[in-house]
Symmetry: C2
Subunit: 226 residues, 2 copies
DNA sequence: CGATAGCTTGAGAATATTCAATTTTAGTGG
DNA sequence: CCACTAAAATTGAATATTCTCAAGCTATCG
């Protein structure tokens, strides 16, 4: 990942920007011209349906990209909003395509990023479709921890930068259910709340939490495929 | 879309292959070397979690691509299985990247395809997270119809090439719930079952069905984001 | 025409939502 | 720094939705 960021920096020499919680990186329906590489911070992507339903469709962190979903239609299909102070590199898409044409390793980087994004969104779907709420919340925490780990950040002490409502929206359940599930995980000793409020969650034993997801996954019985 | 297929045919001159229902295009964990462009037919992508949960994460049709999700890790993250007789173009990925480097419009095509795939998977998530089962089934039928329309195929007479179990898996509900929902939509006159069995579904009035989705979407009350 | 896989329907059980009350946390201005 | 306010989070009880289990039905394919 650091490798990717180095390549980008060398090849396109992008401008960078500091953002604060609540800042809008782009809005749904806005013309697509630019993609962003996250150097620091946490971001949410929010889609809206025609009839007003809102859905947080993805959470993004250091090393992730913002904006690829706008290529297809020439407009961004969702809002991108900072959940925390952060820093992003600003990369005009035409510059990026030029760079891709000239530098094969650059094209590889971009393709890998988009490919990973496709796979990631599918994993969200899998989680929502196959796990009961408690296991779903548990898996969310596991994947957040793994994600932090992968990026070289603290993984045993998560600071969720979102309300229970946001969390519930992302996970496909109500905020009350999120709250109950977190309380239950706490009672079971699988997580612990930090001193700085109940958005700070520590995971004493990640493998135990992962095991719990597996154990709790046999419900919600959709017949196996084929 | 036809434009895309013409560009591909001209630039990479791919081999094509006929497939039959049940044929496996690639398996999860198999090395990624090749992508496929669908000329005809219907395909499902099936992910499996470590603990054995199975999830149909996407359905693909004429004009869609198969395999991009394997770029990131060098291995396919899911199975791709034909649900019907069909025809696919076989395109070695290294040939494709070469072509992209030489032909800017080719790179544009590929980026648009991946971008569209990202957006599409997010819409699935939105549907599963924000709609009750009845509206979810209704929206699935709407989106199938729109999809067929877009591809120049009959949109008022759908032939689902999947079992209720597959459908339920894809939509995040049990096969019994799918069955009940379809029966209800039929009773309400929003759909009609064809003569050739209950996998054939006709939509007398698509806009009415779309309206129904909107009406049925106010449940499942996750608090709005921000 | 019989066997099998797929589909439908019902009844009871489990899970998640809704509504409401309370507590906690965070933010503001004196 | 502290009271005060508003927002966020927790928890309980009642309700609604969906799942599970079970039985019967309907296609389809040798």
């Amino acid at each position: 990942m650091l490798e990717v960021m180095r390549v980008i920096r060398e090849v396109v020499q992008p401008a960078a920007k500091v953002v604060r919680a609540g800042d809008v990186i782009f809005r749904a329906a806005a013309p697509f011209t630019t993609v962003y590489l996250i150097n620091a911070g946490a971001f949410k992507l929010v889609s809206r349906s025609l009839d007003g339903r809102e859905q947080i469709v993805s959470l993004k962190f250091r090393g992730d990209w913002l904006g690829f979903s706008g290529i297809a239609s020439g407009r961004h299909p969702c809002d991108a909003i900072a959940m925390d102070t952060g820093n992003i590199s600003i990369i005009p898409y035409d510059k990026l395509t030029e760079a891709c044409a000239r530098h094969p390793e650059m094209m590889a980087v971009i393709h890998e990023a988009m490919s990973a994004e496709i796979t990631h969104e599918r994993q969200s779907l899998m989680s929502v479709c196959t796990l009961a709420s408690l296991a779903r919340v548990a898996e969310f925490l596991c994947s957040w921890a793994r994600s932090m780990n992968q990026r070289g950040l603290r993984a045993d002490e998560l600071t969720l930068r979102m309300t229970r409502a946001d969390l519930g929206n992302y996970l496909g359940m109500t905020l009350e259910t999120v709250s109950r599930c977190l309380s239950k995980l706490n009672r079971e000793g699988l997580i612990r709340f930090g001193e700085r409020g109940r958005r700070q969650i520590s995971i004493p034993d990640l493998s135990r939490l992962e095991q719990f997801v597996i154990g709790g996954s046999m419900m919600h019985g959709q017949a196996a495929v084929q």
